[in-house]
């Protein structure tokens, strides 16, 4: 399937016909609402909050944010502010009379709100567009860093942001998450249906301080069906000097590594990694 990001810039791609198609397609509506609910679960808001919707489009996710607790939105109704770069999309949102405030703005130019404004931020299928620079004056990394710096400042301490996006490849995934980390966020990636065509990637960002329970590992604690792969712990253990090069642990780890690569590896035994005695 072709990626719309590769064809045109977002403000031109989402013209009147494309915006209407996007908003009226019941398949897209279903996917968007599922992802918004998932993002709300990850935000775990406890009281009615002020939320930023980045790339709100025609307000598909906003409608869910404005819904009440009884309609399935935790701690709702929330008040939201959304911005999008496509005027046609915002036009559709106007026709639908959504409750949130709308702005025509480019997320890659920053987030024009004063520090500590929002309790949370949400973004559904938008930030992959930031990886495209349309003119020679700007670069993808510059746009990403301006966006994440602005977002970090505009969230209150202890706030969270959940950004769902469709990464083109692993490089893009790393580029986005490292830009978020550089801005000061505690970042983690949550992947739903990994390895399938319907894989959905959520970047879960946390701002330190406040009543927050750690980073993404705290966010997903107690959630069912989530495996945590903490790269930091592995790196830390190695750094502590537990594992000397040439030691048994090192040999075993290397053998496992080779086995994962599909190489033929000798079985481990009690003699693995032992020193050979001098014969006489």
């Amino acid at each position: 399937m072709s990626r719309p990001e590769d064809t045109l810039p977002p403000d031109l791609f989402y013209n009147d016909t494309e915006s209407r198609k996007y908003t009226t397609s019941s398949r897209i509506q279903k996917i968007q609402s599922d992802m918004t609910h998932r993002a709300l679960d990850l935000l775990s808001l406890t009281h009615s909050s002020l939320i930023l919707d980045v790339g709100c489009g025609s307000g598909l996710s906003g409608e869910i944010l404005s819904a009440s607790d009884a309609q399935g939105t935790p701690a709702g109704p929330h008040v939201w502010v959304g911005f999008d770069i496509s005027a046609s999309m915002l036009g559709v949102a106007l026709e639908k009379e959504v409750d949130g405030d709308l702005f025509l703005a480019d997320a890659g130019q920053g987030v024009p709100f004063r520090p500590g404004t929002f309790d949370a931020a949400i973004s559904i299928s938008a930030i992959q567009w930031l990886c495209n620079a349309e003119s020679s004056e700007e670069s993808a990394s510059g746009r990403l860093s301006r966006f994440f710096n602005g977002l970090y400042a505009s969230l209150r301490r202890g706030g969270r942001a959940v950004l769902q996006f469709y990464p083109k490849n692993d490089t893009q995934k790393t580029m986005i998450s490292s830009a978020a980390i550089r801005a000061g966020f505690g970042a983690g990636l949550l992947e739903d249906d990994p390895g399938t065509k319907n894989a959905k990637t959520y970047l879960v960002l946390t701002v330190g301080g406040g009543e927050l329970d750690g980073d993404i590992t705290g966010v997903v604690r107690g959630m069912e069906g989530v495996d945590v792969m903490d790269e930091r712990r592995r790196a830390k253990e190695r750094r502590r000097g537990k594992e000397e090069k040439g030691s048994k642990a090192w040999i075993v780890r290397k053998k496992e590594q080779m086995e994962r690569k599909g190489k033929v590896v000798k079985a481990n035994s009690k003699y693995t990694g032992r020193k050979r005695r001098i014969a006489f």
């Binding site: 009281h47 109704p77 008040v79 106007l94 920053g110 024009p112 004063r114």
Partner: protein
């Protein structure tokens, strides 16, 4: 755009980030409208400590709305207790105490969430850039040389 949002919005230009006159943006030639919303005391209680009251009073003055009290209302003043007849009680003899939004909360709700800027422009106090507002949507797209 709600008056509430106006209390958080700053100029989008990078040069204005460090200037303290970039907030608040000053509305000009503003056309206001009232959009009815459901009352939500919990949200008001959440947002009240984050409001910049002085700037809010300034903007309210510029828009020609009735002046605000000089101090921020306390969180306790948002609700008041009222006696109400208990449900399923035909005699009306039993009364229960219920919390209802006070007049202060109703006024705040009217101002912050129901009063919207429909047309007009927002002017930055530092660089003088004008952001157009049309049909309630503000245009914050900056031309390349201003970013």
């Amino acid at each position: 755009m709600k008056i509430l949002t106006l209390n958080f919005l700053t100029c989008a230009r990078k040069l204005c980030k460090s200037s303290n006159t970039a907030f608040p943006l000053h509305p000009q030639d503003a056309e206001l409208e009232i959009v009815e919303q459901d009352m939500n005391v919990e949200f008001l209680r959440n947002i009240l400590p984050r409001l910049m009251w002085e700037e809010l009073s300034g903007v309210v003055g510029e828009l020609g709305l009735p002046a605000l009290p000089p101090t921020v209302p306390t969180l306790e003043s948002l609700t008041e207790k009222k006696l109400k007849a208990a449900e399923n009680d035909p005699t009306g003899m039993n009364v229960v105490e219920v919390e209802v939004p006070s007049q202060v909360a109703l006024d705040l709700h009217r101002l912050l969430l129901e009063t919207c800027v429909k047309e007009g422009k927002l002017v930055c106090g530092s660089c003088g850039h004008e952001y157009q507002v049309r049909e309630g949507i503000a245009n914050f797209l900056l031309p390349g040389h201003l970013v």
